[in-house]
Amino acid sequence: MRLLQKKRLFILLIGFIILVALIGYSLQDRDEETTAEQFIKDTVGWVQNLIHTPVDYVTGIFKNIDDITDTYEENKILRNKIAEFKSLQYEVQELKEDNAELRNTLDKTESIHEYNPIQATVISRSTERWIEQVTINKGTQDGVEENMAVITAKGMVGKVETPSKFTSSVKLLTGFDKFNRISAKISRDKGDDVFGMIEGYDKESDHLLFRIIEESDKDLKEGELVLSSGMGGVFPAGLKIGEVKEVKPDQYGLTRTAFVEPLVDMYDINNVIVAERPQPDDNESEENGEDGS
């Protein structure tokens, strides 16, 4: 019996050491996951894709039935909107042509607003709720790379954290911390944009924290749109992030922080777009890659 006790204690201690070693290993800054991890993720992702597609189809049918019931009301509103859009569309076209022409005269064809879209579908969500992470069905094979911005039609949802061959994990905005900053701005007329950084997510108030670096003359108003500025070098500019809800001075009164509500509901994401920013010069992007780690 005593021998048995000793054996148990021994196993427990060894287990404890392995546990600490493993956690230490996975918490350090790893450039890439091991091949074994990638293989497991891809296998699981493949099967998840297989299951997700039919299930999504069925839930889609129910959603469609739901939608049909309020189609009539929506139709009325939309018709009104179309009339407005027609004139707007004309204006946009003019501006686009203008822009292209001016760019041509300047010999500058690249813009930080541009990105190559990679369409993807969310196939699963992390079961551990502390970790705000979803898996999408596109990986390095499709051109997805680390730190690329992930958006939906409504706005930004997060960034690619660890791509494997055929799937990749996406860190949601709600899981951002001080190691995952986004340089952002509030766009205004006449060039008095307000620049700042999204410095993480406040779980208590459920808002992103937007620290304002450069003060503008006017105060921020509620409901102003926060966009990515593209200054970080990794995310393209002009991705919608959220709306300002409240502005507070920080504890020393030197800078102010705006509470920003993300535009996208983080629990209702299905189809996403991975925004691949064209990198003309790889060296440059490494130097100012503050959006990244």
Partner: protein, 179 residues
């Protein structure tokens, strides 16, 4: 060949967990109360109670294996689920010796195992700084809903698998095979 059935079921549960969470209606996930699904662990509890003999430790071994897979796929922090699942199943396995396996004992042991797993996981997460919480809030907002949600899942699994697991036990673990 039949021996592979249990790992296969566990693997399917592991995969379904993430897909289910993606498909679940939004209001369920958004409220103040959070729950974590431990489907793999629930099935492991059934394996520990109804499949394993006193001297076989298949459930603990599967706990290690599928805990590790959960770590790789869903959290990226290796070792946490691996050890908590193994520990939780080991505790349940140990307690089955003293209690006669029936429906209520299963629920009781399931609850005990879930508490061990949840507390261990969150203890490690709080030490490593991944999660930041007050233990009192944690008890109300996470632990309780998690246990209720998972026990519900246990009630769903119970009628489907208990007889089958006992049958597999008779077939596969007769006498001499030891693990």
């Amino acid at each position: 060949m039949r021996r592979l059935l249990i790992p296969l079921i566990l693997f399917l549960l592991l995969i379904m967990e993430g897909v289910a969470l993606d498909i679940l209606p939004t209001p369920l996930l958004k409220g103040d109360l959070d729950f974590v699904s431990h489907w793999v662990f629930i099935f492991l509890i059934l394996v520990a109670i109804f499949y394993d003999r006193e001297n076989t430790y298949f459930s603990v071994f599967y706990g290690f294996l599928f805990g590790l897979l959960t770590d790789v796929v869903y959290t990226g922090i290796l070792g946490v689920y691996m050890f908590s699942y193994a520990l939780g199943v080991y505790v349940v396995h140990g307690l089955t010796k003293t209690l006669h396996a029936n429906f209520f004992v299963t629920i009781l042991l399931g609850t005990a195992g879930l508490i061990v797993v949840e507390v261990f996981v969150n203890f490690v997460f709080s030490i490593t700084g991944i999660a930041d919480f007050v233990w009192k809030d944690y008890l109300i907002e996470r632990l309780t809903p998690t246990i209720i949600a998972n026990i519900l899942f246990l009630l769903v699994l119970y009628p489907f698998f208990v007889k089958r697991l006992v049958k597999w036990k008779e077939e596969q673990l007769s006498g001499s095979t030891k693990f």
